[in-house]
């Protein structure tokens, strides 16, 4: 299955009900207020959040004049364009700095899939012929180090570790240093999940980011926030606090193979300017894909690609 088909398959499930509803909505002869009401429900259920929903709807009203007239297709086309405009243009997530090693930090709240994402990143870089190592800096959660090691063995990637309960900054430092010493292209450091409202844990994370800079100049080169697509409006608070603490510059939207849409990512880009660059669509190592805003919105709205409704 081609990668995009895989995502589409995931997103197809996502929009089950959604796309159908839009279609019945459009073909059901609804118009005006009723049409807007249903569209509102669709946007809310995608977790865009009240502020963005209102913004999108008022933009839409301006564009199509209150929905009083204009065919369903016209309205859908307009929503599509508005949503795409609320997303960043795609960038190559695998770009690395000219001087190796690149040091990447993988951060986020508990249970979003950081460890799996770190492993998938290592796999993707390896597939591109890059050399890479993983750093097991989640020394808090029981057996997190083991989890990453299992991945390391599966992928044939070295995992830099210390014991459970070790200082995460020390592990991160070791990882960055090891990558430099071995002349690798990249070091990917998995950190412990932490709720963003726990100040001392955020301080710990700042220290990790500071310390890797001492091992490799300019590190961390990328700080990835791993965001679970099932997350609701709290995602915005997560992104804000993590960005303040460690300058997050890219989001990995995970678990998009479920039915959740992760629409809060739009709100995050809107308010913080941090773009989604990668999406997780499954449990296999290959299930990490560059984010394509066009297809993402199309799939959410029940359309397979520009110009053609499913």
């Amino acid at each position: 299955m081609a990668l995009w088909d895989r995502l589409r398959e995931g997103l197809r499930r996502t929009r089950q009900g959604l796309g159908d509803r839009i279609r019945t909505l459009w073909t059901g002869g609804k118009e005006g207020a009723a049409l807007f009401d249903d569209l509102e429900a669709v946007l809310y259920e995608a977790d865009l959040g009240p502020q963005l929903v209102e913004a999108v709807l008022s933009e839409l009203r301006r564009t199509v004049g209150g929905g009083a007239r204009g065919g369903a297709d016209e309205v859908l086309q307009a929503v599509y364009q508005i949503l795409v405009a609320h997303l960043p243009s795609p960038r190559d997530p695998w770009r690395l700095p000219p001087t190796p090693p690149a040091v990447w930090l993988v951060v986020g709240v508990n249970g979003t899939g950081k460890t799996t994402t770190a492993a998938k990143m290592a796999y993707a870089l390896r597939q591109q012929g890059r050399t890479v190592c993983l750093g097991a800096a989640d020394t808090f959660r029981a057996a997190a180090v083991e989890q990453l090691e299992v991945w390391g063995q599966r992928l044939g990637v070295e995992v830099i570790r210390q014991g459970s309960g070790a200082d995460p900054a020390a592990v991160a430092f070791d990882t960055a240093q090891a990558a430099a010493a071995r002349g690798l292209h990249a070091a990917i450091i998995d950190t412990a999940g932490r709720l963003h409202n726990k100040a001392q844990l955020m301080e710990e994370l700042k220290k990790v980011a500071r310390v890797v800079g001492k091992a490799v100049a300019g590190a961390p080169h990328r700080v990835w926030l791993v965001l679970d697509a099932t997350t609701g409006q709290n995602g915005l608070a997560q992104a804000r606090v993590f960005t303040e603490a460690v300058a997050v510059d890219g989001i990995v939207l995970t678990k998009l193979d479920g039915t959740a849409k992760g629409g809060v990512a739009l709100a995050i880009y809107e308010t913080l300017g941090v773009p989604v660059e990668l999406v997780g669509v499954g449990e296999g190592p290959e299930d990490l894909l560059p984010f394509d805003p066009d297809r993402y919105v199309a799939a959410i709205l029940g359309r397979s690609g520009p110009g053609e409704w499913v």
């Binding site: 499930r13 509102e40 429900a41 809310y44 259920e45 995608a46 977790d47 959040g49 009240p50 502020q51 709240v109 508990n110 249970g111 979003t112 899939g113 959660r141 029981a142 057996a143 997190a144 083991e146 989890q147 090691e149 299992v150 991945w151 459970s164 709720l195 963003h196 409202n197 726990k198 679970d228 697509a229 099932t230 997350t231 609701g232 409006q233 709290n234 995602g235 915005l236 608070a237 997560q238 678990k255 193979d257 479920g258 039915t259 959740a260 849409k261 629409g263 809060v264 449990e283």
Partner: protein
């Protein structure tokens, strides 16, 4: 956003509270803010709609609008409906008549099943049970290790079978529970997508071997609108008996709980409130209701105020303030009313967690109120009515009489003066604008 929202709701309620009479339009306006609050809290869109329809039916009734405190009735209607929806009282685990009781924990990946399994086991130990933890998550790398570690930490028996499918693990677990005389079996299962038929089938096969008494869906408090679909699909595949809300130590509002409850009718049984293994509590509907609305326990505060304040006194005071008479007598009456509500430091604790008043927490000295009262009690009636006659000599006498110092008397008079200015401003505002609040915020003296 969180803070802004809390403040907004408070402002709306304050605005409502300050109006003499509420119209239906006022109520609808406040409910629009409640709607935003619920949506921001990730309550499902449709659930919000139904919920507000019910609240509105109650809140625009003539009884409410005609009551002396309509705004409080509105708030109460919101809160009551919220609690009614969340479940009136905590629901306990149902234990089997003949042990062992079998509890399955199911849910999406990353919702916190493994940690919750250990927490439930720990909670059971505290309740005098002998649980056996079962590591049936054979999918996620090292999940078994994780549960073993956690079990060791809390000193609970754990069963695992390396390289075995989950069905075999639970088969072995039953025998093991006999050997270790466990009366509750807590099964940690693999995280699964609700739309994955193979894994849902595996759950059913596990149950064929080891039938459950409780099937708890573990739900992350940060979950968005999708919570409804997840819960519905899980409930269709396995007959759930309730759910556990995790990661409530974050700042998510946990509106997902409301959605799930509304859609499935299942009770929330536990809430996980921290990373430590004893951070699991029996679910308290009223606490989550306040959290979802971001209101702190403003409602208890209102209840307390209602209980303490003499309505007639308040009305009389309000009338005099309306008339622009704000002498030290009114000041004194206000302080007496505030005092009747209980220690200030406790009152402040009831305020919203993130509200603007949060800063003053821990800085309030209840004794200062006593001193203020002593000073006021040492004044003559003439002084209370005409504070401008209080000269240096009177100040010395008042200080002496109240056991305070002239500085403290001065400070109090300054505070009174500031408050009087505020009152006057507000009165001017009222003249220009009939909609201005009838009564300003409770003028807590700046102690």
């Amino acid at each position: 956003m969180f803070e802004a929202l809390t403040e907004k709701l408070q402002a709306t309620f304050r605005r409502l509270r300050s109006r003499g009479r509420l119209t239906e339009a006022d109520v609808r306006e406040a409910l629009r803010d409640v709607r935003m609050a619920l949506l921001e809290a990730d309550v499902n869109f449709k659930v919000v709609k139904d919920f507000l329809a019910r609240v509105e039916a109650r809140a625009v009734g003539q009884e409410v609008l005609a009551s002396l405190t309509p705004e409080q009735e509105v708030i109460r209607a919101v809160r009551d409906e919220l609690i009614a929806l969340l479940g009136e009282r905590p629901e306990r685990l149902k234990l089997a008549a003949t042990p062992p009781t079998v509890i399955y924990l199911v849910g999406l990946q990353g919702s916190g099943k493994t940690t919750t399994a250990a927490k439930v086991a720990r909670w059971l130990v505290n309740q005098g049970h002998r649980p056996l933890l079962v590591a049936a998550d054979v999918t996620r790398p090292a999940a078994v290790d994780q549960l073993q570690r956690l079990a060791q930490t809390i000193g609970v028996a754990v069963w695992s079978q390396p390289e075995s499918p989950a069905v075999e693990v639970v088969r072995g677990a039953y025998q093991r529970s006999r050997q270790v005389a466990a009366d509750v079996i807590v099964v940690d299962t693999a995280g699964r997508l609700h739309i994955d038929p193979a894994l849902m089938e595996e759950l059913r096969r596990m149950e064929a071997v080891l039938p459950a008494h409780e099937r708890l869906l573990v739900v992350d408090a940060m979950t968005g609108q999708d919570a409804v679909r997840v819960a519905e699909t899980f409930a269709q595949a396995v007959p759930l008996t309730g759910f556990v809300l995790t990661k409530l130590d974050g700042d998510a509002r946990g509106g997902a709980a409301l959605s799930i409850r509304a859609v499935t009718g299942l009770p929330v049984k536990f809430m996980a409130t921290g990373e430590k293994l004893d951070a699991l509590e029996v679910f308290q509907p009223d606490r989550l209701a306040s959290r979802i609305l971001g209101m702190g326990d403003v409602l208890s505060l209102i209840e307390r105020a209602e209980a303490a304040l003499d309505r007639q006194d308040s009305e009389r005071l309000a009338q005099r303030l309306d008339a622009g008479d704000f002498t030290l007598e009114e000041f004194k009456a206000l302080i007496a009313q505030v005092k009747r509500m209980g220690p200030l430091s406790k009152l402040v604790d009831l305020l919203p967690q993130m509200g603007p008043l949060q800063k003053v927490k821990g800085q309030i000295d209840d004794r200062s109120l006593v001193r203020v009262e002593a000073i006021l009690n040492s004044m003559t009636r003439a002084e209370l009515r005409r504070p401008d006659i209080i000269n240096g000599s009177r100040r010395r006498r008042i200080a002496l009489g109240s056991g305070t110092t002239v500085q403290e008397v001065n400070r109090l008079l300054r505070q009174y003066e500031e408050m009087r200015k505020l009152m006057r401003q507000w009165k001017g505002m009222k003249k220009r604008n009939a909609k201005a609040p009838r009564f300003p915020l409770p003028p807590f003296p700046n102690l």
